[in-house]
Symmetry: C2
């Protein structure tokens, strides 16, 4: 059975019913409401819907077919004919519409969108050697096992699972996550404190809307991911970048909130956003001293801390450090986790572990934002974790990524020798490097892209002092060793090519 | 394989390694980091992870087992023992945490949350006769066929589908939706204008954030769904309820936006939210004249219209009316649709059909909000629509709901005779009624609930003049005829009971 068609018949006019049906379908095709290949309902169905005899509809269809508007395909049904609509369809895109540039909020934030959605995800032109960061190794993903979890979740779906579930997510998944963070991150979390979100991004956006009034300040690490500035500033907050050193965020450089008396009217720091396990993009692990300093700062300045633990699962050398949230006894740390890096980003499941008093208001915003996150994949994920396959997968990926990381470092050393500086611990899915070179990042990246290698300039992550030399963020998790070696060779060639070209231009 | 456990060993202390392992697991149990039943990693895995010999781990496990902290279950693995953690777990919920009431934005909107998330969805106590509105008939849902679509979508998943898809949703689904609204709603939509959202709610929230500056006005119908006031006012807008009569929104009662000269500083109406197909909750269909009047108003007052077509699929008498968006030639109507009513709410898929100039900024907000909607169910839904099963299901449900609606009306007539007023056309999934009675809505609802019948008082949908009599919104789509008959009998008894009780109290 095909979709119904909106047709209105009048029995009061002298125009025969079949002619009315004919006219309306024809005009729907001419006006572009129906496109080539669109299905036309079976005559029996349309007759039923219009409460007329089937002959009425059949007569109309015969006429339409005779004039080449529709085609009947044996067994498949009736469709708008190939060329019938193509003449008319094109004019549809243009309408009288005026622009709404001044009308909407867009200008306020579009200008600040340094990584617009279309650049990062819309059209991603495939390139043979893409050093994109934060992308898991697709080919190693246990698709079969994951599909099994989804199919099982789907098979076990009962009618009551079709309705709105709780805004905070299914209890089963929250229980599995609580168990996971207790054992692997040393956070004494209860399922009741965990809220499932549509990716970590949604958790951040909700927190921004929850905690930040217009003009208030939020501290982010400098350098940091540009999306933070986008999210926080769209919520009307002032984003305050604070430097990171070898121990993590320089807590002593955050301006303290003044006493209540003097603060009136002055912006106040409400939130401090950090990535303690593996600073993005520098890769530093925040030291224990610095963690304690930060917790103290938050307490004495009445601020909250967001701990984004985006890729803590991968650490290749040395022992894992527990989460900042595990050290917190004052309920000031909000922990954010995600399955984008360990499983896959198209699975839009992240979570926030919240202090008691924030749970209700957080959920209220989740509720007006999108009610809840879709149930099916929550069920599948809970099963996948419970079965032990999640841990197995993370463990396996850790080994794989460690090898790829070593390969990347070796390749870079071979190509650039002493002219390169590496940042960060041996962890995560990316490496930040600074090249001793007079060529600009953009120039190198452009030349490399020309040869099939995509590298990612990293200066725009720095809000304050930009690096003196070209800086790149190289992801290695989704590239084979061969791809890494060849990719880095081409990258080095690109840099040399630009150098020579610039010299000859300057002569 | 089980989850890993965060354990740090030091080779510099005189404490034996196995003692260190023992101590840390024991203290994790005592401190509540591990709960009864939590898995302990297999000794081989933990040894591997800690880079020690397996004997070290085995010794520690033996000690822990001897002291009753952990239990080995043949074939299943090792777990924290039943009673080991229960003594300690309870103290975790309480922490030093202070309240953040003054800190967060919660007070601004929690007070206005007339239907807090927990009331509507959190814990829905099951009641034998629940006249909840907007809920599809679960038992008639083609679960097998839907599961087939999901399984197929999952089986066909390729690695490139694991990464971030386009923020606007998969092209395939947008194409199917474009075809659907072209044929059934007479909207000449192109897939390029359609953005998939996580339910219609997200589309509304994004539009509020996109179009409304603090203090600007948005017109909503009076009565209307309370969630609209929540969404719009959380975005800082002033919500302006405007009355609805038998033809729909009273456009002539909207205060016009003054000329630019005089308007400065004064709030301006940027958006008008309407439900033209089946006004919520009154059930009126907006007349053609009123539609044209509204489009003209929007044009001359430089405002946008949101058309929420939440349950247009169901109309039991008379012919369907096409969408307002189909009449619009100036690109001022944003059409919002959803699959919550036709399929099921836990499928978080809705969509917005946008004028050209709003697409990019809408997507930019979608991107900072949650990046994109999960891919899997988009794929499944596209297949479900394409195969014709969606149309078949909607058609079948229409017949079912029509029968249930007649049954409800007949039951009400039988029980209340002339003392009842019905609102709205024969369409949708709910009926608004007003009872001629001196008993209050809450009293009747409470007494009915006591007898197992849940009816929904509707006064809170009215922002301006409240109805003089008790008013209820009755959903009938998820109740059998028997349930409807018995439920309405009990409902009527409840009203009579309250009347008699009040009389005897007033004596």
């Amino acid at each position: 059975m095909r979709q119904e068609l909106l047709i209105t018949l009048s029995k009061r006019t002298p125009i025969p019913l079949s002619r009315q049906v004919y006219e309306q379908i024809r005009s729907a095709i001419i006006s572009g409401l129906l496109h080539s290949g669109d299905p036309i309902p079976p005559s029996r169905l349309l007759a039923n819907q219009l409460e007329v005899s089937r002959t009425v509809v059949l007569n109309a269809y015969e006429q339409l077919q005779a004039e080449g508007y529709i085609q009947m395909r044996k067994g498949a049904g009736t469709f708008v004919a190939e060329n019938a609509a193509s003449l008319f369809a094109s004019k549809l895109v243009v309408n009288e519409e005026e622009g709404f540039d001044e009308f909407i909020n867009a200008p306020d934030f579009m200008a600040e969108l340094s990584s617009p959605y279309s650049g990062l995800l819309g059209v991603t032109h495939s390139v043979p050697y893409d050093f994109r960061h934060g992308v898991p190794a697709w080919s190693a993903f246990p698709m079969d096992r994951w599909q099994k979890s989804v199919v099982e979740a789907c098979r076990n779906m009962t009618p009551d699972m079709l309705t709105y579930g709780p805004a905070e997510g299914t209890y089963h998944l929250r229980e599995e996550i609580a168990r996971l963070v207790r054992s692997t991150r040393s956070i004494p979390a209860m399922p009741e404190q965990i809220v499932i979100t549509s990716g970590a991004t949604q958790a951040l956006d909700i927190l921004a809307r929850l905690c930040l009034h217009k003009g208030e300040q939020v501290v982010v690490e400098d350098p940091s991911h540009t999306v933070l500035r986008e999210i926080f500033s769209f919520s009307g907050a002032e984003v305050l970048p604070v430097a990171v050193d070898g121990e993590g965020l320089c807590v002593d450089r955050i301006t303290p909130n003044k006493d209540d008396e003097n603060r009136k009217g002055l912006p106040r720091t409400k939130l401090v956003y950090v990535t303690p396990s593996h600073q993005f993009p520098l890769g530093v692990t925040m030291s224990l001293n610095r963690r304690i300093e930060l917790l103290r700062w938050a307490r004495s300045n009445d601020a909250l801390i967001i701990e984004d633990d985006y890729d803590s699962e991968y650490r290749y050398v040395g022992q894992k450090v527990s989460a900042l949230a595990g050290l917190d006894t004052s309920g000031r740390v909000i922990y954010i986790g995600s399955f984008s890096k360990t499983l896959f980003p198209a699975l839009r499941i992240g979570y926030a572990i919240l202090p008691q008093s924030l749970i209700e208001p957080f959920l209220a915003i989740k509720w007006i934002t999108d009610r809840m996150t879709s149930t099916l994949e929550q069920k599948a994920l809970a099963e996948f974790i419970k079965s032990g396959y999640y841990a197995k997968h993370v463990y396996k990926m850790g080994k794989l990524y460690a090898g790829r990381r070593s390969c990347l470092v070796a390749s870079l050393k071979q190509e650039f020798g002493d002219r390169i500086r590496y940042f960060g611990d041996e962890a995560g899915l990316h490496l930040l490097i600074e090249l001793e070179s007079k060529v600009s990042e953009e120039e190198i990246a452009k030349q490399a892209l020309h040869k099939g290698v995509k590298v990612y300039p990293a200066s725009n992550y720095f809000a304050g002092d930009k690096p003196n030399n070209p800086t790149f963020l190289l992801g290695y998790s989704n590239l084979t060793r061969n791809q890494i070696q060849t990719g880095i060779q081409i990258f080095a060639q690109a840099e040399r090519f630009c150098k020579v070209k610039n010299k000859s231009l300057n002569k």
